[in-house]
């Protein structure tokens, strides 16, 4: 038995790569984290920068609502990103807008995670009529057209808070990921290791939380990232139509006011490019993170670089010892 134990030692660790990076890679894998690729790093850096801007920006910029009589002016030392038609500082608006959009994204992300997790995972695991009812409900929610419903609700309620918009967006957005989660849970609940823990005498809720849920984490993470993108874009769309939360500042409301103020026709690029760019960049960054998570769920997407493949080869010394062992 000693021989097989020896053979099962991870060979990559002693390969041609420096020991530090190999050890680090093994640790990341053990924690279930995606390998640090250029894609993931780019996504993390961009979204991290935007996140920091949204968190800390509002503390250092001017008051975004202060009206000045200088009117529409380009970038200057007093206003780094210029001003709007009413002389409001664009940089200040951008900082508050980032905070507003990210708040919506975070709220919707968490709510979607909870809703889709409950209806997708719990339903599929419980099985029987619970699953039938949950999945019927999910399917109904799935075919309700999202944007028209959101517009109807938004125009019906006169004084909308940020929370109401977030709630509406998550109510119309959770069904898709619930179906994805249900499918995956259905396959997990009949895996042998789940049966084995039933045979061992585990309680049902413990099987769900300890045996099944950890294996769903990558999927949950990617669904949540998608929900955040969906929410931020959805809120921007609503605000652009003038149906967003009243009194809030977000990337969408900035674009809305820029459109109203004829920014495009007046060539005031400093007014509409920053929020549009941040919106596109943040969406792209989250998608990049999502692709990296997808590679854990579906190893077929992993593209092995030449360097990684080279590390599978045995070194000359390993080959010699292997030869001795077989002789």
């Amino acid at each position: 038995m000693a021989l097989t134990t020896h053979a099962a030692e991870p060979v990559g660790g002693t390969g041609g790569l420096p020991a530090g990076s190999a050890a680090q890679r093994t640790r990341r894998r053990r924690l279930g984290l995606p390998p640090m690729t250029a894609k993931l790093a780019t996504g993390l850096i961009i979204s991290g920068a935007i996140l920091l801007f949204g968190l800390l920006g509002p503390f250092v910029v001017q008051d975004p609502t202060r009206v000045d009589d200088i009117g529409l002016t380009g970038p200057s030392s007093a206003h780094l990103m210029g001003t709007t038609q009413t002389g409001q500082d664009v940089l200040a608006q951008l900082a508050y807008a980032t905070r507003g959009s990210l708040t919506i994204g975070a709220i919707v992300g968490v709510l979607t995670l909870l809703l889709s997790g409950f209806f997708g995972v719990v339903g599929a695991y419980a099985g029987g009529w619970v699953d039938e009812v949950f999945s019927l409900f999910t399917n109904i929610m799935l075919v309700i057209p999202g944007l028209p419903l959101v517009i109807v609700i938004s125009s019906y309620v006169p004084d909308k808070s940020l929370w109401l918009v977030a709630l509406v967006l998550s109510l119309t957005g959770w069904a898709g990921s619930a179906r994805v989660l249900r499918g995956y849970t259905l396959s997990l609940r009949n895996r042998d290791y789940v049966l084995a823990s039933r045979v061992a005498g585990e309680k049902r809720w413990r099987i769900l939380t300890v045996e099944i849920l950890p294996n769903l984490i990558p999927l949950l993470a990617s669904q949540m990232v998608f929900a955040v993108i969906f929410a931020i874009l959805g809120e921007a769309g609503l605000s652009y139509l003038g149906l967003g939360a009243s009194g809030s500042i977000s990337w969408g409301t900035m674009l809305y006011y820029a459109q109203n103020g004829l920014a495009l026709r007046l060539g005031a690029w400093w007014w509409f490019v920053p929020p549009g760019l941040l919106l596109a960049l943040f969406g792209a960054a989250l998608s990049l993170i999502n692709f990296s998570i997808d590679e854990i769920i579906n190893p077929k997407l992993r593209n092995q670089t030449r360097a990684a493949r080279r590390s599978w080869l045995m070194s000359r010394k390993q080959l010699e010892t292997a030869k001795e062992a077989t002789l």
Partner: protein, 269 residues
Amino acid sequence: MTTLTAEHLVKNYHLRRGLRGGTLRAVDDVSFTLEPGRTVALVGQSGSGKSTIAKLLLQLERPTAGRILIDGEPVQRRGGGLSRYRRTVQMVFQDPFASLNPYHTVEHHLERPIRLHQPKLSRDEVHRRVLHLLERVRLTPTENVAARRPHQLSGGQRQRVAIARALAPGPGVLIADEPVSMLDVSIRLGVLNLLATLQREEDLGVLYITHDLATARHFADEILVMYRGRIVERGDADEVILRPRHEYTKTLAAAAPNPERRLSELRGG
């Protein structure tokens, strides 16, 4: 000392084919007894109902008709009775690559059954038992193996972990569902010998489910041959293999590779 008896077990599955429904009888009137220290082999082709019997005995499925008795008492299906049953009847699954949770360490897999069935043990005590179990299935160095995750072990090592997990509650009956069919030929004998040794040490009653007549004859005292949900032949292991009476058993025996017969054919032809 546990005796597990199956009496006239029947299991029907309902099939849905469009609007019409159908019934598939996976297990049809099967009875047998598992006694301490004895091995019963259940032999049959794929789809003959072997694994369904395992699921019925483990209470993962409910029989349509028939009874399962433990020490002469009908088994209980919930509460403390089910918990006691889980302690006495354990299982080794077919596929060691699927039966261990990829997310958890070997220690977790062995620790849970110990904790479930002996909740009063201290943390150190549980850890010591885990190491002892690993030692009994010859996975050394034990501390090292306990900290590993399934993907860091070979197929044979994983199956040993699965055996250790089945032994963790201290069962009286072990159901082994094709325990070596997914393993490399070179390590099958090692795992089977380990099972046989542990059986002798613990005086376990073993139901060995397989489609391999040779290992069934080698390890079992009694052989049941299953065909389409029914037991078509049963008896002493050597008797069934050497003097098969039922047509299906003869076909099964003839299908097994037999180098001597082949050699004589070659010489003759």
